[in-house]
């Protein structure tokens, strides 16, 4: 399913059919809600010629941590179960301005805390190919919506792999852009120094179009970059580095094979390939799980049962108000991350943990910088295995976090990274390959991916 398939039909027709498809796949758990009424209203406006653009009448789905009109914005949490957003995310506004129509909100791990979409307060999302397996996360619902051909594209957020990993698990393209490329205004904040906004699509050209439309400076997010999406450094040296640490012995054989197969295709396009070392990769997960919980703890402090969101009915005092509202509203994983964050920021531990992690971060950033002085693209798998079974990793937080080892490095450094479908495992499960570029190489990476798609 491609974007262009929708441009010549009536918007009302597109929306009706997308809604039907969504309803027919309800057991997948991909969607939390449908924004049916508003979608039909907007479809009428598009068909009447009042709204037009490059995405005229194209239906899409938005991860439910993006504020949007037409239904509640829940972040898949009881904390925001009935939250009626007063504004829309900039990313959504930009797509709507080009005629695209949001038909529903996708399931996610609550507050985007997770790598499987099993932490949702409203039930898990199942893998598009095997319903006994996870969709991946945290943008599981968005990935599955595209993989099941409900819509041609969907929005997600990627803080440590939350677009790339479900993209890999479901066989679709997933884009994590350069940090600052797309405005985060109106998206529920998770970790402010690594949060990025991206998309899922079935092919690189569509993903590129969506990203280009969403990208750009926004006065409502002061971390947005001024350089345009198209102004992307070319990959002119045609040198690719395969990250040795991502191809180590413990990694699933099918996963490694998908990367090596993809690399053969890059060679066909005239790329020179070498194995490279990212020594700091060993420490990336530790760096991530210190910095991110600290930032999460700060960003989730606003959910206090006072101004909006869940308020405990048994609160008799102000302390109860905060403590009970938060205990009732959050999932266990949210509390886990908040508590880790409190610890690493607390007096007596701040230097040994948080400060140390931010220094280690500088070392990782520097390693990438040096690699990009010689190589145009760094390549490796997205995750150590294909989609795991539902419930397989939920007992042990570290086991769940280890699925992120290959995605967190690019997040920590703010670099663009694309998850591109690269084959299937011996059990028929999708496996992606990860293309990591230097700052602002997003567009060039997707153009490369498109070239590979076009290879016979």
């Amino acid at each position: 399913m491609k974007i262009q398939d929708f441009l010549d039909s009536s918007a009302i027709d597109n929306v009706k059919k997308a809604l039907e498809r969504a309803k027919s796949h309800s057991e997948s758990g991909a969607l939390i809600s449908l924004t049916e009424e508003r979608a039909m209203e907007r479809a009428k406006l598009v068909d009447a010629g009042e709204i037009s653009g490059r995405l005229k009448g194209v239906p899409f789905i938005v991860k439910d941590n993006f504020l949007a009109f037409g239904g509640p914005t829940t972040a898949a949490s009881n904390m925001l179960k009935t939250f009626d957003a007063p504004v829309q995310a900039t990313a959504v506004e930009k797509l709507e301005a080009e005629g695209a129509i949001c038909i529903g909100k996708a399931n996610l791990d609550a507050f985007a805390h997770g790598g499987s979409t099993e932490n949702s307060a409203f039930g898990p999302t199942k893998n598009a190919v095997d319903d006994q397996r996870v969709a991946g996360g945290s943008s599981g619902g968005s990935a599955v919506s595209v993989a099941l051909d409900i819509v041609p594209f969907a929005l997600g957020s990627d803080t440590g792999g939350s677009i790339r990993q479900p993209a890999s698990f479901n066989g679709v393209v997933g884009v994590k852009p350069t940090y600052g490329m797309v405005s985060r205004f109106g998206v529920v904040a998770m970790a402010s120094s690594t949060d990025t906004i991206g998309c899922f699509a079935t092919n690189a050209a569509d993903a590129d179009l969506i990203m280009e439309i969403m990208a750009g400076q926004d006065r409502r997010d002061m971390t947005t970059l001024t350089r345009s999406w198209q102004d992307s450094p070319s990959l002119s040296r045609k040198k690719v580095g395969v990250i040795r640490q991502f191809m180590a012995d413990g990694i699933d054989a099918d996963v490694k094979r998908a990367t090596t197969d993809y690399v053969e295709k890059l060679k066909k396009l005239g790329y020179e390939v070498e194995d490279v070392d990212l020594d700091m990769a060993k420490y990336a997960l530790a760096i991530y799980y210190i910095i991110v919980p600290a930032e999460v703890m700060s960003n989730l402090a606003r959910y206090d049962g006072v101004h909006y969101g869940h308020r405990s009915e048994s609160a008799r005092t102000l302390v109860d108000l905060y403590g009970k509202s938060r205990d009732e509203g959050f999932e266990l994983e949210n509390k886990r991350r908040i508590m880790i964050g409190s610890f690493v920021l607390s007096s007596g531990f701040f230097d040994a943990y948080y400060l140390k992690a931010q220094k280690a971060r500088a070392l990782l950033i520097n390693e990438f910088k040096q690699l990009f002085e010689q190589y145009d693209v760094l390549v490796g798998p997205v995750s150590p295995t294909p989609a795991f079974r539902l419930g397989e990793n939920t007992a042990d937080p570290i086991k769940m976090y280890l699925a992120d080892v290959m995605t967190v490095p690019a997040s920590i450094a703010g670099l663009p990274a694309m998850s591109i479908p690269a084959g299937v495992s011996s059990e028929g499960l999708p496996v992606g390959v990860q293309l990591i570029g230097n700052h602002h190489a997003d567009h060039s990476l997707l153009m490369l991916a498109q070239e590979v798609e076009e290879l016979a």
Binding site: M222, L225, A286, I290, R316, I338, Y353, Q358, G414
Partner: protein
């Protein structure tokens, strides 16, 4: 290796603004042992003389024009989001 006691967890819960149940406290005690144990591997690194990085863009003190933008979001709309309100104000349980 850091081992968390229930009293440590209680302290962190206070810092976190969380009123945990006993079962949650125990689960989180175990999680923190595990996760903090894991991230302790950063002890292996020599970060002497390395400046910490807090953000990954080159942006510095980005200013906005002193211009009022009307998002069209009204007071009543915001009040409607509050769990309880009265007289145009958000209502909360007693403080003292």
């Amino acid at each position: 290796m850091t081992k968390f006691s229930l009293s440590d967890i209680s302290h962190l819960a206070t810092l976190s603004g969380l009123t945990l149940t006993d079962s949650e406290a125990e689960q989180l005690r175990s999680s923190l042992d595990s996760v903090i144990g894991y991230v302790g591997m950063l002890d292996e690194l020599d970060v002497d003389g390395v400046e910490p990085v807090y953000q990954v863009t080159d942006l510095y003190n980005v200013h906005e024009d002193d211009e009022i933008i009307d998002d069209g979001v009204g007071r009543d709309q915001l009040l409607s989001l509050a769990p309880d309100s009265a007289n145009g104000q958000i209502k909360v349980p007693k403080v003292l």
